[in-house]
Amino acid sequence: MSHLGEWEVVIGLEIHTQLSTQSKIFSGASTKFGAEPNTQACAIDLGMPGVLPVVNKEVYRKAVTFGLGIGAEINKRSVFDRKNYFYPDLPKGYQITQLESPIVMGGHVEIVLDDGTSKVINVTRAHLEEDAGKSLHENYHNQTGIDLNRAGTPLLEIVSEPEMRSAEEAVAYARYIHQLVTYLGVSDGNMSQGSLRCDANVSIRKHGQQELGTRTETKNVNSFRFLEAAINFEVERQIGILESGGRVIQETRLYDAVKNETRSMRSKETATDYRYFPEPDLLPIVIDDAYIDAVRAEMPELPAQRAVRFVEQYQLSEVDAALLSSNLDLANYFEEVTAICGDPKPASNWIRVELLGLLNRDDIEISESPLPSAQLGKLIQRILDDTISGKIGKQVFEALWQGVARDVDDYIAHEGLKQVSDSGELEAIVDKVIADNPAQVEQFRAGKTKLMGFFVGQIMKETQGKANPKQVNALVSSRLND
């Protein structure tokens, strides 16, 4: 970004990822998304008098899994703390989080940038905490409605070092974390449901300057596109301030996607003294090496490991393997298709060329693909076993995508798309085409062998594409060369 001139951008990200558990971090209430307001807020989530939190085992395990996934140190004694501030959607008036002894310490990830270079970003820490509820500002007689279904949802807050130097790096890092948490089964990574939210700490300084500039924290950015836009806006804003002789104020800001700008969140400014202290309702969580080893033993494969396996097991090219393993759902999809059709090459081709093309065009996630892996697998299988031709295959694919077809075999049967392989039937058609085109036969025999294509085409037309091309070729050439 040449317009930055003398300015260097410094970005650190705090990523809140929602851990995919059945129940909440401190209560037995469901975490399912989309329920009626407050129907999943139990007495503990509501902070009723006398209730107490109890830690969910699975939450802890998922945090350790993530820590191992970034090569971090797992704190064998981690402690929960209370972070005190008042907000109507924070029921207890404090959030249970981890300050002094977080569960995950250190670790790092390697990001790859568009120009192919890679960079290591260090992770400072990752700690467990509970989510707050939601404030709804619309349609309640000019009042705010509080829905506490989300209160107590388990979060893992992953804090990076301020080591990113551009919005591109920040997005690459966030994408990597997203890929990792979904791969590890730590989170469903569903960003539209708030399962991954980024707080971006952005500051600028002159190149060569040692100390950091004053930073702002832009909160709750829930898409990669917005993250990039928010950071770029914030960088421009800060440059504007500094170049006109002003001072950047350390504050919390909110990204407005509609206006594509960040603005100050004045309402949260007063609560800067959080008065942390160890949560007396919970005890330190103490684990041993055996626990860590057990979690490690059950760790799912990481993206890089899977790519290597794809090359070895399926003889894919490194580029294709990297693409197909870049996303957990996609990698699973590929393996499911391969398992059904029995051949990784066409599976890879169909997915990369046909399926991803349409998914990208229509901006659909692979997990929401209208074409289930079972059907694509069967489709490829039917091409490979010569039930249908490749050309018909594309027609079936289109029908499946459109929802016209539901089952490959049913559709082939119903539409009569089965390849004509009965040689008697095919011979009759070949003979008919030869008889109908004496001039072309003459020319062919005179040496114009390119006309082979013409005859095959005519036969395919007669059979509405259902003839087996290999068989047609063989028959035509044997007849014409008689």
Binding site: Q40, N142, L283
Partner: protein, 95 residues
């Protein structure tokens, strides 16, 4: 240690309590007396002493990840000051 009015107002803000003007100095005196009582602690040498957070120094046991709570919204909201369509209502919050 003497607690002044500014400290009182700051603490009251953090604690979200109203302190009426005429009460500020009364609070300041009360707090000063309390602090004098607890100031005595500073005479104790606590170098290398691990703070206690649980008197038994016990460790946490964890629960299974199971949904055990059912929807009791109506019961909980029967004792709420103001609700509508299942939401707790408060004066409009500006972010």
């Amino acid at each position: 240690m003497k607690i002044d009015n500014e400290v009182i107002l700051n603490i009251a803000e953090l604690a979200q309590l109203e302190v009426k003007d005429e009460m500020i100095s009364q609070y300041a005196d009360k707090m000063t007396a309390m602090l004098n009582l607890i100031e005595e602690m500073q005479s104790v040498n606590t170098d290398n002493i691990e703070p206690v957070s649980n008197p038994l120094d016990a460790v946490q046991t964890m629960r299974e990840d199971k949904v055990t709570e059912k929807d009791l919204r109506d019961e909980y909201q029967a004792i709420a000051p103001e609700v509508d369509s299942g939401l707790y209502l408060v004066p409009r919050v500006v972010e």
